[in-house]
Symmetry: C2
Subunit: 291 residues, 2 copies
């Protein structure tokens, strides 16, 4: 299995029917490289929810049902133009790459649940997803609060655009922020006490899960029913919305904070990700593959 799903490159060959891109264009490929194109989700431009499952960019199969998809840790990738994004020139390629997963994963729910002026948005977890979420929510005009385990990254949070920063290890946080948020984007992937966090939502507030916890956590009625609150799930975004996100990031000078490494350092980088020691995304320079 070869991974890689936040891929940027330059078009070096096109098929005879390709109309959208030309040789030399800076383009990107995200988490999926095809989908059924016929179901309700695909027809709505929500290919990420394709009823047959989108054809993921790696560790999956192409539409023929047998050819493995091989991801972006490679010198070349062949993708249908309909699943290719145009990367704005003012975003450096290495800083643009994480927008194709982390960026759209945050942009899509922020847009869908109307983050903007007058809205209070909480971002749970300040990692690869969270740090782009802060930037986008801030650019949308929302009041942004980071809910991080400790205050260790507070300075970063403020620099990225957060208005407020609270430690969830401090029980006072849950008293102070009760009924605060219109929207919480939950990027963390560990078990949590749903009610404790749901009580931070205002009347009619929504917590959107974008992180995938390994284990389920028990959910009851109390915090949901006490304020017509919701828990929702959101996965990346469709092609149209991903392009919209890239254009939005271009306009607002948003990109990912990254460390760019040669592929030879990938094992060390992996260990640092496991240790939460990355601010905030590793990007592999594929030029190093041929070294």
């Amino acid at each position: 299995m070869v991974p890689g799903h936040e891929i940027i490159g330059i078009v070096n060959k096109i098929g005879s029917k390709v109309g959208r891109y030309k040789i030399g264009d800076k383009v990107g490929v995200g988490c999926f490289a095809d989908s059924c194109r016929k179901c309700e989700a695909c027809l709505k431009g929500l290919e990420q929810y394709c009823f047959e499952g989108p054809n993921l960019t790696y560790n999956a199969l192409e539409k023929d049902g047998k050819t493995p998809t091989q991801g972006g840790y490679s010198e070349k990738i062949v993708v249908d133009e309909n699943y290719v994004l145009s990367i704005p020139n003012n975003i450096p390629s290495d800083q643009a790459a994480p927008l194709l997963c982390a960026g759209i994963t945050m942009y899509s729910p922020l847009m869908h649940w109307n983050a903007g002026p007058g809205k209070k948005v909480g971002i749970m977890g300040l990692g690869g997803l969270g740090h782009i979420g802060i930037k986008i929510a801030d650019a949308l005009g929302a009041e942004v609060t980071v809910l991080s385990h400790s205050l260790r990254k507070q300075e970063d949070g403020k620099r990225l655009g957060a208005d407020n920063f609270y430690a969830t290890s401090d029980p006072q946080t849950f008293k102070k922020l009760k009924r605060s948020f219109d929207l919480i984007i939950n990027t963390i992937s560990i078990e949590i006490d749903w009610d404790r966090y749901l009580n931070l939502l205002a009347l009619d507030g929504t917590m959107v899960l974008v992180g995938v916890p390994e284990k389920k956590s028990p959910l009851g009625f109390a915090a949901l029913g006490g304020g017509r609150r919701s828990i929702a799930g959101s996965s990346i975004g469709g092609i149209r919305e991903t392009q919209e996100m890239l254009n939005f990031c271009s306009k607002h000078n948003i990109s990912s904070d990254i460390e760019c490494i040669p592929i030879q350092q990938v094992n060390e980088a992996y260990q640092r990700v496991v240790n939460s020691d990355v601010r905030y995304r590793f990007v592999i320079d594929n030029k190093s593959i041929s070294n």
Copy 2:
């Protein structure tokens, strides 16, 4: 503790400042008889979510914080006119009473989540709540499907207005109805496999909990994230909306299917409720109190 929170009676005395009701009016009192009147929820007419907690009609305290509220198993009750509902004359009192809790509990989420023509609504559980939910969702023009443990009540479901009826004890139900519903109102109060039921929701569908399970059930990301689905909680309704619901029921000739009993049979009735042997609500005739 004296219960009773679906109360109908005739006004027999009014205070000097009462302007909304006069002696002889048919009125009702629901689950709460007062609230703080100052918080965001109260100001929005959503007194059921009052930030200080609404003053429940029984087993609670009045606003003085010490006088117990004593419910409706009584010959008289004194309530501020702002927390009293006007009962339309074309609904018999005994059939109107359950609308004040069961009715509004179903009406509020059906309205809030836009049940109506072109929408597919699932009602989980056919009991006191479910049977009124079918009637209201049908009157709103939605396509109504009952999800009941068995097919035992199928005939009733169809008579009440359901278009479809499925047994959740049949595993085929979960295959057939995958991605079916825009909205599911979950009235059941036992532990459930969230993912199994959430997968019955269409893209962007919502399951609204109105039943209060004794135990929590484990929730993960998969079914929510697989279709931008939501789980929400809803509690009864505000005074304004409860009046709206009563007027809606009057217009559409909706009332509760009941068995009216003298209070002397209350213990037997309780046991029958525990055994799910009621179609679909017991109502106590308070004239029997003085017998």
